[in-house]
């Protein structure tokens, strides 16, 4: 009966290790090489200026707790009418759907105009608009506590207009965005870009921690709990205390492996788990060393 139980335990451990290895392979093959984040715009408008928007370096800025990016907007005119100024706003902020506008007239961003040749030897006006380190969120996020299960979301609703002397596009947007692309520069995050169904031309960009870190955290938690049970159930009461201290040191070592130095937030959910396991361990050790029957 005892031998049969050991065999079953052996099978269980082998199965768990196999699943872990398969998860590592799945992460490396599928999750570490994500497809580019690209969407096509609504494409229904007949605006005289059309183009491509690229968020070229999306990252989560830990000191400011906001999503930050470099923006590049490329617009092409339907004719050779010159592009003199450009107004662009990436998103709406707050309950009043407020917008802060990036304006070439105010030199917020660098605008370059050029001629673009089309088929048939004709050339049309075009412009590129480059803005660096644009904050995409106005509210300071406090989600780092959930590391590595934290994720950061921004609703992008880009609008642009050309040759508007008044600055912001308050009357009519004469430019439309046909293609929208986001490149996540932060190696600790993966991005997911989806088009909003309720409002055409709006996109949701979500940055979340890599699958690997999340998976490893869960595996370490499970292993730690198993080891805790084993230590208390099968360990010798004489050397239980030094072993417990060793276990605590190991847990802290695992923490430094999971939580990189770039994540300066303390405590995170990892710290809560480690400290809870540590308390449980010492409670069980205390109960084992000083049973109720002892005076």
């Amino acid at each position: 009966m005892k031998w049969n139980g050991r065999l079953q335990m052996k099978k269980l451990i082998v199965a768990a290790l196999c699943v872990t290895i398969l998860l590592f392979i799945y992460d490396f093959v599928v999750k570490e090489f994500p497809s580019p984040l690209m969407m096509n715009g609504p494409g229904t408008s007949q605006n005289p200026f059309r183009g491509k928007l690229q968020l070229s370096s999306v990252k989560y800025d830990l000191p400011s707790h906001r999503i930050k990016t470099d923006i590049r907007l490329e617009l092409t005119a339907a004719s050779d009418a010159p592009i003199k100024s450009l107004s662009f706003s990436p998103l709406e902020l707050g309950d009043h759907q407020g917008r802060t506008w990036l304006l070439s007239a105010a030199r917020d961003c660098k605008m370059e105009t050029f001629d673009k040749s089309t088929g048939g030897g004709k050339s049309v006006s075009a412009a590129s608009f480059d803005c660096s380190d644009v904050m995409l969120t106005d509210r300071v996020s406090a989600k780092e506590i959930w590391y590595p299960f934290d994720s950061y979301e921004v609703l992008l609703f880009p609008r642009a207009c050309v040759n508007n002397s008044g600055g912001a596009c308050t009357t009519h947007d004469n430019a439309s965005i046909d293609t929208f692309e986001a490149i996540v520069a932060d190696q600790n995050f993966v991005g997911v870009l989806t088009a909003s169904e309720s409002s055409p031309g709006a996109y949701t960009l979500v940055l979340s921690r890599k699958f690997f870190v999340r998976m490893v955290s869960v595996i370490f938690l499970v292993f730690s709990l198993i080891f805790l049970v084993y230590l208390v159930a099968a360990g010798d009461p004489k050397d239980l205390l030094p072993k417990s201290l060793g276990f605590f040191a190991t847990l802290w070592g695992l923490r430094s492996l999971i939580v990189p130095s770039s994540v300066s937030v303390f405590p995170t959910i990892v710290d809560y788990c480690i400290l809870t396991i540590f308390c449980l361990l010492f409670l069980l050790v205390f109960m084992k060393l000083y049973p109720r029957s002892q005076p």
Binding site: W101, A105, S165, G166, G167, T170
Partner: protein
């Protein structure tokens, strides 16, 4: 004779200059007609005058708002209120990159809270940083174009201003103004921040 002179004087004061010019160009009689001899308070005085004008001038007359004088007066009031506030209230440095007057200018007592909107308007520059005044305006009549904003809030302001605990000099905007922030009010984009730019 005295009454005719009095009525003529009242008529000249009551008819807007544009109508007077239109009347002069269309060869309308310079002297007051019996219909025009009605006092200003009587209804239909200007309507009757309009009916005498050719069609194109009637259109001009329709386009010219009856409360133009009132609007100009309220613009003047607003400009004066901003000028007074800039001269008396204190500017506070915000986020390290712009100054803002510590009290907002409010001439909207007749509007309810939901009707008005706070508009930040750059009046000048202090220490090469933009200096803003927050003005509460009726959201339906918030300026849409830079020219409208300058007409309503005033174009150039400079001179001594108060900072917390000291006095300094504000320099006037040299270029034009542009809208840098908007908010949606009843589905329409309304400009809530006007900034100076040098061309």
């Amino acid at each position: 004779m005295k009454s005719i002179l009095l009525v003529t004087a009242v008529w000249f004061l009551s008819v807007p200059p544009a109508l007077a010019v239109a009347q002069a160009t269309t060869g309308a009689p310079a002297s007051a007609s019996p219909a025009q001899k009605k006092s200003k308070s009587q209804p239909g005085a200007t309507d009757e005058l309009k009916s005498r004008l050719p069609a194109e001038n009637q259109d001009k007359a329709k386009a010219f708002p009856k409360n133009a004088g009132t609007k100009a007066k309220s613009n003047k009031q607003m400009e004066e209120a901003i000028r007074t506030a800039v001269g008396t209230d204190e500017f506070v440095l915000q986020s390290g990159n712009e100054y803002k007057l510590d009290k907002s200018v409010n001439l909207t007592e007749k509007f309810s809270v939901k009707d008005h909107i706070a508009v930040d308007y750059q009046v000048g520059s202090i220490d090469q940083k933009p200096a803003f005044v927050t003005v509460l305006v009726d959201s339906k009549h918030a300026p849409k174009e830079p020219e409208d904003a300058e007409k309503l809030f005033g174009a150039k302001l400079d001179g001594p201003v108060h900072l917390t605990g000291m006095q300094t000099t504000m320099s006037a905007c040299v270029g034009s103004r542009i809208c840098v922030e908007t908010e949606k009010v009843d589905g329409q984009d309304v400009c809530v921040k006007w900034k100076c730019i040098s061309k």
